[in-house]
Amino acid sequence: MKWIASALFAVLLLSLPFFAGDFYINLASQILIAAIFALSLNLLVGFGGMTSLGHASYLGVAAYFSALLTSRYGFGHGAAALISIAGTIAMAAFFGTIALRATGLGFLMITLALSQVLWGLAYRMSNVTNGDNGIAGLTRPAPFGISLDSAGAFYWFALIVASFAFLMMAIFVSSSFGSSLKGVRDQPRRMAALGFNPWMIRWITFIYAGFWGGVSGLLFVYYNKYIHPTSLSITSSAEALLGVIAGGTGTLGGPVVGATLVLLLKNYASAYIERWNMLLGLVFLFIVLVMPTGIVPGLSKLATRFRK
């Protein structure tokens, strides 16, 4: 039963550009990008037990690097992508050494402070980043000469990257390293006594999460052909966190569902309601008070009850 459903879902995903209009294809692309971003954050939050409010940094840094390298310094997309990811990884390694001096709320506060600093830099260093105007007029890459300018072509590109990301993260989570990560999340002292190095495990995970955050950042800037400091803001990190928590942190599917919901809410809400931020805040309150473990666990509990 599960196989048939998965196969049908895969077919649906692959064939979307053939039956849906551009608006929906673009929405699907945005969902894929948000999904990668949410999954990368969930490596930290759900599997690592490290709640970060600064994950937008990695999306933003990769995006800005790519934007600047291609538009201002004449790099080709391939080289720009490599340098951007390398830069993001380096930054994650550096930020990780600072943030991991603490755990729990201290860690949260440090990640928040660090990402706010980056956001401030993006605003202030206007001769580099163009400040509040953002960087516009960017182009999408053309891998193997194939243009990604049409909605359908970009969608398939994003789908390939997202599928790869999902697969890699699924393997990561079920690997021995992933098991040791979950162990450190649950009983760090016990893990240390068993011979695992908790700090190193957390730091490597932090970098890996930053890497995938950077990947989502590249897709983000390719899709929008524009980058603005808002993408580095607390709101951006908070939306991702909301998606992860709303969907359910314990699974791989949860963050994807949650990110989709947040994105849809944002797209439709902003059409009818100007007050997206207020709505986001209220949704935060609602989810935390009413559905603390998230939607996916909640639904699967309902499903088991249904079967009985």
């Binding site: 709640t51 409010l53 600072i98 001096r101 603490a102 729990g104 709320l105 201290g106 949260l108 506060m109 440090i110 928040l112 402070a113 660090l114 706010q116 600093v117 401030g120 830099l121 202030r124 260093m125 001769n127 803001s233 607390i234 709101t235 908070a238 966190l241 909301l242 928590i245 007050r275 931020n277 207020m278 986001l280 805040g281 209220l282 949704v283 935060f284 309150l285 935390v288 008070l289 603390p292």
Partner: protein, 298 residues
């Protein structure tokens, strides 16, 4: 800013920077003392704190422009009470339900900050609203042949007065003793009959109220604008991380260190202001993660 001529003008410039540092430090103390108190007792990183501060600033901007004769001290008191009340309601209705969910508590404070900041945007629009400096404090003070903006001097005084008041509260009153007991060992405090959940509400109101009053007093310098909360919150975080969680002395010293670093940093290297801002924090985290005055394992 390039001083045009003479050593005296140069001196004047640097003295003004020094005073700006002190007044920014004072402002930061008004902002972060409440944050530190709340974190120390409730182990809650109150991400609404920047929004509480901003509410005070908007309160001042609107009230003092509508009632032009309004005294800033009265406004500060009023704002403090209003923001304290809002904080209290929030604590009672939302935060108490999340006692077993510290992550949830952080998220709802974030959500609340979004709600407040958006509400300010709706009510008072996207433009920056200046807060008038009180009339009797507008004339500059002349000391030793130099000219000082009076209001900034007064602001430093307010911060010091608040620090003294908080110190007396913590050290000399029964309430303060209970709060300190709660900070040291929550379980034990409950066991000896201290009403910890009421204490939580009181401390949250106190913290929020000080932030609101601080917002009023900071108004003439900062002006009320959307995004003020997002500008102030990381400063509070940096001060508390630097000074040490739960330590008022740490918040005091940290505020002035950051005040100086930020003011002189911005004067000398305007584009790198944000990096300069977080350098002290990085040093402290690297070499003394509990902060300058914090306790290990806080």
């Amino acid at each position: 800013m390039h001083a045009p001529l003479g050593a005296r003008s140069q001196m004047q410039f640097w003295i003004i920077q020094g005073l700006n540092s002190l007044s920014l430090g004072g402002l930061l103390f008004l902002l972060s003392s409440g944050f530190s108190l709340i974190f120390g007792l409730m182990r809650l990183a109150n991400l609404t704190h920047g929004a509480f501060f901003m509410l005070g600033t908007y309160f001042a901007a609107v009230a003092m422009r509508t009632y032009t004769g309004l005294n800033i001290w009265v406004t500060a008191l009023g704002a403090g009470l209003v923001v304290a009340a809002i904080g209290g309601l929030f604590e009672r209705l939302v935060l108490t339900r999340l006692k077993t969910n510290p992550l949830g508590q952080v998220l709802v404070t974030l959500g609340m900050s979004f709600i407040i900041s958006d509400a300010c945007l709706v009510l008072w629009g996207g433009d920056s609203i200046p807060v008038p400096t009180p009339h009797n404090l507008q004339a500059p003070t002349r000391l030793f042949g130099f000219v000082f903006p009076t209001y900034r001097l007064v602001l430093v005084g307010c911060a010091v007065a608040t620090a003294i008041a908080l110190y007396l509260l913590m050290d000399r009153t029964r309430l303060g003793a209970m709060i300190r007991a709660g900070v040291d060992d929550r379980q034990m405090a409950r066991a000896v009959g201290i009403p910890v959940s009421n204490l939580f509400t009181i401390v949250f109101c106190l913290g929020a109220g000080i932030a609101g009053a601080g917002g009023v007093l900071g108004g003439p310098i900062l002006s009320a604008y959307p995004g003020l909360d997002a500008d102030m919150l990381p400063l509070a975080l940096i001060v508390v991380i630097l000074g040490g969680i739960g330590s008022l002395l740490g918040a005091f010293v940290g505020s002035f260190i950051i005040g100086f670093v930020y003011t002189f940093g911005t004067a000398l290297f305007p584009e790198l202001a944000y990096i300069i801002l977080f350098l002290p924090m990085i040093f402290v985290i690297a070499f003394r993660p509990q902060g300058l005055f914090g306790r290990v394992g806080a």
